[in-house]
């Protein structure tokens, strides 16, 4: 079978004089390389030029607000449950009187963290969310980082701002050891596996 018609049969016949002095072959080689010199370069100059991404590209997560600027998330934990990489963890809290303009549902996520080292950007959290609170942006990639402490994204970096343009100053509270957060394994993932 021939994959391309550029295949050559192996031959052990004596080289001709032109082949033995090696210079014509060098000239041919030089010709090949200089042709590439004038070719269009394939490099994309990244920060200035960016490759177009697919409209359903799954990039950096964002926690959405509704039309009145209230957080949509109700801390049901379904995203954490559905996450195959176990990247999401959260602490739920009950909405108090007077906080109705902040949170849409009666329960909200006081802490919401995604570990970007674990996340595989599969988008299952987005699919699982009943409140359409989490989305993976198609136009923004998770940036590179220098240390592990930068990797865990809290609400301060995930939550949309009031004017819905950028994630901004959400609560900077982080998950602590004393938090009783919704552990996906304890809640259901484990159970599912056992079944």
């Amino acid at each position: 079978m021939r994959l391309s018609d550029r295949a050559k049969d192996v031959s052990d016949k004596n080289m001709s004089f032109a082949e033995r002095i090696y210079l014509p072959a060098i000239a041919t080689g030089l010709g090949v390389t200089i042709k590439h010199f004038f070719k269009k370069k394939v490099t994309i100059q990244y920060p200035e030029v960016q490759r177009p991404v697919s409209p359903n590209f799954r990039g950096l997560h964002v926690l959405k607000r509704d039309d009145e600027g209230r957080e949509r998330c109700t801390a049901c934990g379904l995203c954490a449950l559905s996450c195959p990489a176990e990247a999401i963890s959260m602490v739920a809290e009950e909405r108090k009187k007077g906080e109705e303009h902040l949170y849409r549902e009666e329960k909200y996520a006081a802490v919401y963290e995604i570990n970007m080292l674990r996340c595989i950007f599969c988008g299952f959290c987005e699919e699982a969310c009943p409140k359409q609170a989490i989305y993976l942006q198609s136009d923004k990639m998770a940036p590179a980082f220098y240390g592990r402490e930068e990797v865990i994204y809290g609400k301060d970096r995930l939550l949309e701002s009031k004017d819905k343009t950028r994630p901004t100053d959400g609560p900077k509270r982080r998950l602590t050891a004393t938090d009783t957060y919704i552990d996906p394994i304890a809640v259901g993932y484990n159970r599912q596996l056992k079944k």
């Binding site: 030089l30 090949v32 010199f37 269009k40 490099t43």
Partner: protein, 343 residues
């Protein structure tokens, strides 16, 4: 008046030094850009416009890296090796005639570091010393790969020096002088040696590649067999000196090729130009022509590097001893016969 000549000479020598260093610096940039272009890439283009500040960034990086000397290395020789490599590389640029004469006051001062009537032998001698830097550095590292690289460099340089010397002899027979300036002046206009010595030119160029340890003859440092060869143990600016001396050598080799075979600062129609413009301007044009030729050969060095793979060691030796040396001797004999027949 004598002091004036001394001042002008020292300025010229400093200029030659500075220019060879500058050209070598930018050769590193050019090499990386050219390599990228030949491989459909962009190459370094971030530091400054077109990446032109890249060599400076590289130098800063090399200077600020850790100076490491292996515990079992011979300390003084370990430092001496790269210094010697750089020294010998720079010394040989002193005798190259970059241009005709400059008229300053009523004196005509040749554009050349030092004028010696054995210019060819001088540069040849310095080139033959170039291998010491590599050998000493490789041996002092106390590393078997470095030693192998050093030994390879030594045998390769000695082997190719022979063929190189024999190729030059044919040129010397034509000009009858060891003075590089006389050799250039003999090639007045377009009467270049390469038209009379095509074989000698090819032999010389091949040997120049080998003497500079450039691909396809970069066996002393072949990274995939010897992990960098003689500079395996080197870091920081000492490594920088080794790598940089290669570029200085390349510049000097290109300049010598242009002088010996491509007429140096001569170009067709130079008499016409000399009749119509002032003397100094004509010289400046000549210098520009000389540098254009040199740059072409530096380009050629790089072009070859990114085209041809490395030789195997036995191929290298048999090419040097069994092909180039007999060819060079034949070239001498033919040249001698032709000179006898026509004069």
């Amino acid at each position: 008046m004598e002091l004036d000549i001394l001042t002008v000479k020292s300025i010229i020598i400093l200029l030659v030094f500075g220019i060879s260093l500058g050209i070598a610096t930018y050769s590193t940039w050019a090499e990386r850009r050219l390599a990228a272009y030949l491989q459909d890439r962009q190459g370094p283009n971030r530091a400054g416009p077109l990446g032109l500040l890249q060599p400076i960034a590289d130098a800063v990086k090399l200077f600020t890296k850790e100076e490491f000397i292996p515990a079992s290395a011979n300390k003084w020789l370990f430092i001496f090796g790269p210094s010697l490599a750089m020294l010998t590389a720079l010394m040989s640029s002193a005798v190259i005639p970059f241009g005709s004469t400059l008229e300053i006051g009523d004196k005509f001062i040749p554009v050349q570091g030092i004028e010696v009537n054995i210019g060819v032998l001088y540069s040849f001698g310095i080139v033959s010393l170039g291998v010491y830097g590599i050998m000493i550095g490789g041996w002092a590292s106390n590393n078997k790969f470095s030693l192998l690289g050093a030994v390879r460099a030594a045998s390769q340089n000695i082997s190719y020096e022979l063929a190189m010397g024999l190729a030059i002899v044919a040129v010397l027979m034509m000009s009858g002088s060891l003075d590089l300036r006389k050799i250039v002046e003999d090639q007045h206009g377009g009467n270049w040696n390469v038209f009379y010595q095509p074989l000698g030119f090819i032999i010389f160029l091949t040997c120049a590649f080998a003497e500079c340890n450039r691909t396809p003859f970069d066996l002393p440092e072949s990274e995939n067999e010897l992990v960098g060869g003689y500079h395996t143990e080197y870091s920081s600016m000492k490594l920088g000196l080794f790598l940089f001396s290669e570029y200085v050598n390349m510049f000097v080799a290109s300049a010598i090729v242009s002088v010996l075979y491509f007429g140096g600062y001569n170009y067709p129609g130079m008499d016409l130009v000399a009749d119509h413009v002032p003397h100094n301007l004509a010289t400046a044009i000549g210098i520009a022509v000389m540098f254009a030729k040199t740059f072409f050969f530096i380009f050629f060095f790089m072009w070859i590097r990114w085209t041809i793979p490395r030789f195997r060691y036995d191929q290298l030796m048999s090419l040097g001893w069994k092909s180039l040396i007999p060819l060079a001797i034949a070239n001498i004999i033919v040249t001698g016969c032709v000179i006898l027949l026509f004069n």
